[in-house]
């Protein structure tokens, strides 16, 4: 295996792991606010790592540039979308869950 392939596999593994965390979090966590945490963050990192893996496989070409653009875009929009969702929940007076109530 070439070093590039090893790097691809490492990044892909990381991406899969964090996306798995996002999925588990979205299912397991108790309320919309805490779900928004994993949805925006673990998922963003998972997607980011996977896209890095894709960019590495592609090597140096136009497509790589597009992948990087995609990555930047996801890193900007994902937290914004999560914020929009959380804010919508807040404005509808949805109470956050607490472990002691």
């Amino acid at each position: 295996m070439t070093p590039t392939e090893i790097a691809v596999i490492i990044f892909l593994g990381g991406g899969l792991f964090f996306t798995l965390v996002a999925a588990v979090g979205v299912i397991r966590l108790p309320d919309i606010y805490s779900r928004a945490h994993t949805a925006s963050q673990a998922d963003t990192l998972g997607a980011g790592l996977t896209l890095v893996a894709v960019a590495l496989t592609l090597g140096l070409e136009i497509s790589t540039l597009k992948t990087v653009l995609l990555l930047v875009f996801i890193f900007i929009t994902n937290p914004t979308a999560a914020h929009a969702v959380a804010r919508a929940a807040h404005e509808q007076d949805i109470e956050p869950w607490r472990e002691d109530r």
Partner: protein, 89 residues
């Protein structure tokens, strides 16, 4: 070989998408659904990128770009809708 790994990763991503679908269907609040669909959308973009690399079809990435845009717009539009149309909700 790398192509097979990428395809396998895409398959795992689709399975994760199916898992997240539970939240989109179950809710309980509308925001949960929007959030779940947003996660599904992000993963879709990633799947497209993976397929593009694995099958060596560069223009899949263009679709992925359009998708990323749409996904964001959808989450914001529905969130805005649920707030401003509070009476109808």
């Amino acid at each position: 070989m790398v192509n097979d790994i990428l395809l396998g990763a895409a398959a795992v991503f689709v399975v994760l998408v199916i898992v997240v679908l539970y939240r989109a269907v179950r809710g309980p609040t509308m925001q949960d659904r929007v959030l779940a669909v947003n996660v599904i959308g992000t993963n879709t973009v990633v799947i497209l990128a993976l397929l593009s690399a694995a099958l060596d079809v560069p223009y899949f990435l263009d679709i992925a770009l359009v998708y990323a845009l749409l996904n964001f717009l959808m989450a914001v539009a529905i969130s805005k809708f649920t707030v401003e149309r509070g009476g109808v909700m």
